[in-house]
Symmetry: C2
DNA sequence: CTAATAGTGTCTTTCAGACAATATGGG
DNA sequence: CCCATATTGTCTGAAAGACACTATTAG
């Protein structure tokens, strides 16, 4: 079998959180070529000696470049081809991760990104799409909050991510049915108001429990 | 930056169809080491010279090894690490494809697979899971049928893939709402029965239209 | 008391599941 | 007429949306 030049294999992570109610992604300014000086996703080569698998590499990169271990990480997709890196044929195994907004990083709103290195805009778009679609039927957005939060805060996150307002009663009904939150002793209060119950995500091994919160109904019938 | 030994980059395709109402996957007996003589998914090295991107590689492999161009192909996930290939650290960009049962191949039922090369059982399992989950809200299973089919045939496919019987009336209501099928002139008949209307998939650029056929309702209320 | 937000109750609409009724072919 | 399957119609119950109502704090 013929030999081909080695293919560049990297891992890039779309690390997201919510800053001031706006979905943001963590970016790093590249110190070296290619795209030296430009903003890029945290990423790097797979280290065959250190990384047992691709997820290990993603965790290592987040540890080395961001100093964190995110509570949620999943593989997004692989972006591969001869056009995305001037050095040659490359494959980027992309992950997406969610963290609390207390995480230190250079956060940039996903809706107003400047020019980025490589095809990172496309990777970020894919991550945002994935987050949106999964938010419709899972508790993923809770990972964008601090460990404890109120239901009002959680609803705001969902509305931000999904881009449409939700009914308070229906939202609470769904969340209660899901039974994925634990009450936390204590409450949160600001100003002259009734204090709110505090919750946290239940410790679980499985994400992706069915939420099945559907899109808002249309008022009129769409013909027959 | 330190140099690392080159990483093996391959593309593997889970090519599926329905043979005698059973979901099957196309396998090839490996002629060479590693795993010579064992069954494996059609796959191969990425050819940096020929393949512009990973999807190109998947199509090339299906063309070379199976002699087909499938009507549906999507990236599944990337399986990468140092344990899956005895030659070293490897990354397999896995795709999954659906074809009509008229396609010539060595089909094996996905439920009774023998020992396979590499981690191909896990890749196949991921493909089946993906097909199942997408079948709940898309018209994907139609790609498992010949180009034209009746609604009864289509419903049987859904029942096979989803693993549970569907109500005839509800199923037709959903399909009609989706508006993803075109009527074909002519009809299909067997025996002394009313002939059935023939349909085909509409030509479209987008898959994944919302079907929102939900899981069967539970009869009782689950507490509060 | 008021202001402000937290949290609940209830009516209505929508839609999937169940299943019956009708339609259309050949004998 | 019969049978067998295709196709449509209708009823019902569960769940989502709309929205009003009550609860709890500070002052």
């Amino acid at each position: 079998m013929a030999m081909y030049p080695p293919i560049i294999v990297t891992v890039d992570v779309v690390l997201m959180t919510l800053c001031l109610d706006v979905l943001c992604v963590a970016l790093i300014r590249r110190p070296n070529a290619p795209f030296a000086g430009e903003l890029a996703l945290p990423g790097g080569y797979v280290h065959a000696q250190e990384d047992g698998n691709a997820e290990d590499a993603a965790y290592r990169i987040l540890r080395e470049k961001m100093g964190i271990k995110p509570p949620y990480l999943e593989q997004l997709a692989t972006f591969a081809g001869n056009q995305r890196d001037p050095r040659g044929w490359s494959a980027s195994i992309a992950y997406f991760a969610l963290v609390s907004p207390t995480t230190e990083a250079t956060w940039q709103p996903v809706n107003e990104l400047q020019k980025l290195a490589f095809d990172h805009p496309a990777i970020i778009q894919a991550a945002v799409d994935r987050l949106r679609s999964k938010s419709a039927y899972s508790v993923l957005p809770a990972y964008l909050l601090p460990e404890t939060f109120t239901l009002a805060e959680l609803q705001k996150i969902y509305e931000q991510v999904l881009g449409s307002p939700l009914d308070k009663s229906s939202f609470r009904r769904k969340i209660k049915e899901l039974d994925l939150l634990d009450q936390v002793a204590g409450s949160f209060q600001v100003g002259n108001q009734r204090p709110a119950q505090i919750y946290r995500l239940k410790k679980m091994m499985t994400f992706d429990r069915t939420l099945s919160q559907s899109a808002p109904r249309k008022t009129g019938r769409s013909g027959q």
